[in-house]
């Protein structure tokens, strides 16, 4: 037990973890440096910009590492390096695709790193999430309502999904913050309500009681509202899936998953007939080739990017991922596929898988069904499910859902949310409140 007020005494395991974290960060830095230099050679017009991105990244990595070493020596040493690795790689890809966007992204990376340090470093942060859960829920829902009423799209395009709030040069996507708020609320609600749930209650047939099934239906309703008013298939699906999985963890009832899946399929079926956006996504998922020049252009270009990358990739700056519309955002994984090939793709998949599984492992540090256990599981699932949805989408494994690839894609709100989630996970992985 560390005594408050004294500097924590490092155990042997902590020291090993610390040097592992440092080693991983240095390896990530070397990978990024090699790619930054290669990018400058291939694209002389970029000047020294890649080195600037690299420097911002290095400062964030060094500061984050020192802060975490100081505050949380017992944390999982893999989480922070993996998050930094992916966000640094993403920054380089964005810098290669749209240099002006990368400058803004570098700024957001610095902001996100600070947010991560705050989320991970301050005691009571996690407890506040629990104590003020209803306040959080009200706040989250009012932000959602505000987006529905006042939402805009920074591109100014008529008909584009209006998922942003803001004015002037600063736009934020409230759904990104809402994801974390809803996971925190769900974790605390389930911890409170389900911890007393016993096997006998279930066997006695009270499993359909509003106390158990109610929140599932509520969450389903919320997802449907997001789908209907925002046409945001990705966020709606993500909320619902993560929540279902959390309920499954809290109860261990497989029928929750089965029932939830049924509700999800019903919603998608209805949406297919009601909303053109859903119809489009499903149609081009089933057969994109017939409409390769039209509605399926993006997914066809995405698959061609993976094919063009082959196993070894074209090399940074040497492929043509810009043919994929919004390659810097939702489709950034296709850019990785074209320029780093299958090898790069597997590295990203493995990194995200390790991040998710280590996050789930953090949940085991706490009593089952406890708030902190559920919060750790929920945040890990949030990152994992979002990654799987978009990676599966751009590979035509799943229908396309417009979500970002965590840490990697362009977008300040997305990066900030991923880093805050990671910060909380790092704190929980150290077994701290």
């Amino acid at each position: 037990m560390a005594v408050r007020g004294l500097s924590p005494i490092k155990s042997r395991a902590d020291a090993q973890g610390s040097s592992m974290a440092l080693l991983l960060l240095v390896l990530a830095g070397l990978f990024l440096a090699v790619n930054a230099v290669a990018l400058m050679l291939v694209r002389p017009a970029l000047g020294l910009r890649p080195l600037v991105y690299l420097s911002v990244w290095a400062v964030c990595a060094a500061a984050g590492h020192r802060w975490l070493e100081h505050r949380l020596p017992g944390r999982d040493p893999l989480l922070f390096p993996i998050g930094m690795f992916l966000s640094g790689w993403g920054l380089l890809v964005i810098g290669r695709l749209i240099p002006t966007f990368a400058e803004r992204q570098a700024l957001w990376l610095a902001v996100s790193a600070v947010a991560l340090m705050l989320a991970a470093g301050f005691a009571h942060g996690v407890q506040w999430l629990r104590r003020y859960r209803y306040l959080i829920l009200v706040f989250g829902l009012s932000v959602l309502a505000a987006t529905i009423l006042l939402g805009r799209n920074p591109s100014g395009m008529i008909g584009a999904p209006a998922l942003w709030l803001g004015a002037g040069a600063l736009f934020v996507q409230p759904a990104e913050a809402l994801k974390i708020l809803l996971v925190a609320f769900s974790a605390s609600y389930l911890a409170e309500q389900y911890s007393v749930l016993s096997v006998e209650e279930v066997k006695s047939g009270r499993m359909f009681s509003p106390r158990v099934a109610g929140p599932v239906l509520l969450m389903w309703g919320l997802s449907v509202i997001i789908l209907v008013w925002q046409r945001d298939l990705g966020t709606a699906g993500l909320f619902f899936i993560v929540f279902l999985l959390l309920v499954y963890i809290a109860t261990g009832f497989l029928w929750i998953l089965a029932g939830g899946a049924l509700l999800g399929v019903m919603a998608v079926f209805a949406a297919y007939h009601l909303f053109t956006v859903v119809e489009l996504r499903v149609d081009i998922w089933l057969n994109p080739w017939a409409e390769a020049d039209g509605r399926a252009y993006q997914i066809v270009q995405s698959l061609q990017a993976f094919a063009a990358g082959g196993v070894f990739g074209q090399g940074i700056g040497q492929g043509s991922p810009a043919y994929v519309p919004v390659a810097h955002s939702d489709f950034i994984f296709a850019a990785v596929g074209e320029e780093w090939g299958l090898l790069g793709v597997i590295v990203v998949v493995v990194a995200l898988a390790v991040l998710s599984l280590r996050g789930l492992r953090a949940a085991l540090r706490f009593p089952p069904r406890s708030f902190r256990s559920l919060l750790a599981a929920g945040l890990s699932l949030l990152l994992a499910v979002q990654s799987l949805m978009i990676m599966g989408g751009v590979l035509k494994l799943l229908p396309l859902t417009g979500v970002t690839l965590p840490f990697f894609s362009y977008g300040g709100s997305s990066l900030l949310a991923s880093f805050v989630a990671l910060g909380l996970l790092i704190r929980l992985s150290a077994g701290e409140d």
Partner: protein, 474 residues
């Protein structure tokens, strides 16, 4: 501990899901290159095509006719034609509209598709994304001759071909109106809609009635038959009415009696109508067949552009007069007439026209000659050919082709008129001999022209230019 079990189930589920993602990436990375990348809508194919650095096209003395220029501001090389007056020969290479002319005929060489594959080179090119480089080609074309032809035809509709004899090398080939390959993409729609049909290569594809130009093979038949050249024929300058048009001599002449030699010199139709009637359809047919009329020669590499073989002419008593006047179904191409002139100056043996001399692989210092066997085709006996040369010299000295004469040059030729419907064409077919070489041959046709003198003048300019080019001076 159900919660722990649920967590481990979820962990396993996530692992499976991530593995599925990796497997589908594996699928597209391995299967994709041979399937979806081959789709014509893959923009990378267009990009690869656009980044090919095509070889240069140069004329016989190395003047640059087409070059792919690369600079830092452009992603793809830009095809530049320093001498757009060669467009009827060099053609065009456009990303949007494809290739034409020599750019199409030698496309594989210029793109580099014919180069031997070297595995190591391929590998480094692929790794470093080096664009494909094509070979340079040298054409038989002579910029001096080509400029002369293009300048002379400017503002006209017509065509001209100059051949070196005995090789058959195309020294000049012009078709007017034409296009500027440098501004092709911008002008395409206007050029396509242009009633002057600038993309139509009149020298190779144009089918013209030969009219009076048919008199040369007829005369050859007459010579074989022993017809007297110097006997006067009464009413030789009378016009001949056929199909509603009155055919006249190449020059307006009063009613005169002329010898056959003189009638040929002025391209008067009446004596040749009589000659054909004397000879009969079989002899006329034999003469036309000997001169390969109706079988236009093709230019190696441009075969697809050649006029599809018109049905072999069958001359009967019914159409004998019309054929003897070079009207009706009888059509020839300017290249065909140039080959005929080349056969005459080459003692009766027609050379095969050709354009491609040699190629140079990218980066190589030396040119590789294109191995070609080009046998000549006998059109006439040496004796007949020499008699025809002599008659053509007379036509330049004292006939309608007098404008072709150039001091100090031995030039023979035949200027004539032809009618096609409402319009008239002026022809000049001729040759010049060269010291140490056989000579050069030329054919000129001017659409909507009643001025064979102008055609002869253009022919004279072309022959003089070719003389300068091949003798290297004056």
């Amino acid at each position: 501990m159900p919660a722990t079990r649920a967590l481990s189930h979820l962990a396993a589920g996530l692992l499976i899901a991530f593995t599925l993602v990796a497997l589908s990436a594996l699928y597209w990375a391995v299967v994709g290159p041979n399937t979806i990348l081959r789709r014509s809508d893959n923009p990378r194919l267009v990009e690869a095509e656009a980044s090919i650095v095509r070889g240069q096209i140069v004329d016989r003395s190395g003047v640059l006719l087409a070059v792919s220029e690369r600079d830092a501001n452009r992603r793809f090389p830009r095809r530049v034609y320093p001498h757009p007056e060669t467009s009827p020969v060099t053609g065009y290479a456009s990303q949007r509209y494809g290739v034409g002319g020599a750019e199409a005929a030698y496309n594989a060489i210029l793109r580099g598709d014919t180069l031997p594959k070297d595995i190591w080179g391929e590998l480094t090119n692929t790794l470093l994304h080096q664009p494909q480089h094509g070979s340079d080609i040298r054409l038989t074309l002579d910029m001096g001759v080509q400029e002369t032809l293009a300048g002379a035809l400017a503002g006209q509709a017509g065509a001209a071909v100059v051949l070196a004899v005995p090789s058959g090398a195309v020294l000049g080939l012009a078709s007017a109106p034409t296009f500027d390959a440098n501004t092709l993409d911008a002008d395409w729609e206007r050029l396509r809609a242009d009633p002057g049909r600038p993309f139509f290569n009149r020298a190779l594809q144009g089918s013209y009635q030969p009219g009076g130009a048919v008199q040369t093979p007829l005369l050859a038949a007459g010579l074989l038959d022993g017809q007297p050249l110097e006997t006067e024929i009464a009413g030789a300058t009378m016009p001949v009415n056929t199909a509603g048009a009155a055919l006249t001599c190449a020059l307006r002449l009063p009613e005169l009696a002329l010898t056959l030699r003189e009638a040929y010199g002025f391209a008067c139709p009446e004596p040749f109508r009589q000659l054909a009637l004397d000879l009969g359809p079989r002899s006329v047919q034999a003469a036309f067949d000997m001169f390969h009329f109706g079988q236009p020669p093709s230019l190696a590499g441009f075969e697809f552009q050649a006029v599809s073989g018109t049905d072999t002419l069958e001359i009967t008593d019914d159409n004998l007069e019309e054929m003897a006047l070079g009207q009706g179904d009888m059509v020839v191409t300017p290249l065909e007439m140039a080959v005929m002139a080349a056969a005459i100056v080459n003692d009766g043996n027609a050379p095969q026209p050709y354009l491609l001399v040699e190629t140079r692989a990218p980066g190589a210092a030396h040119w590789e000659p294109v191995q070609q066997v080009r046998p000549t085709t006998p059109y006439a006996t040496a004796a007949t050919a020499r008699q025809l040369q002599d008659l053509m010299r007379s036509a330049v000295a004292r006939g309608a082709a007098i404008n072709a004469a150039r001091p100090g040059l031995d030039i023979g030729g035949h200027a004539a008129l032809a009618f096609s419907g409402e319009s008239t064409q002026a022809w000049f077919v001729g040759f010049a001999t060269l010291p140490g070489l056989r000579g050069v041959a030329v054919a000129v046709v001017l659409e909507n022209s009643r001025d064979p003198g102008l055609a002869a003048d253009i022919g004279g300019q072309a022959l003089a230019a070719a003389h300068r080019a091949l003798t290297g001076g004056e």
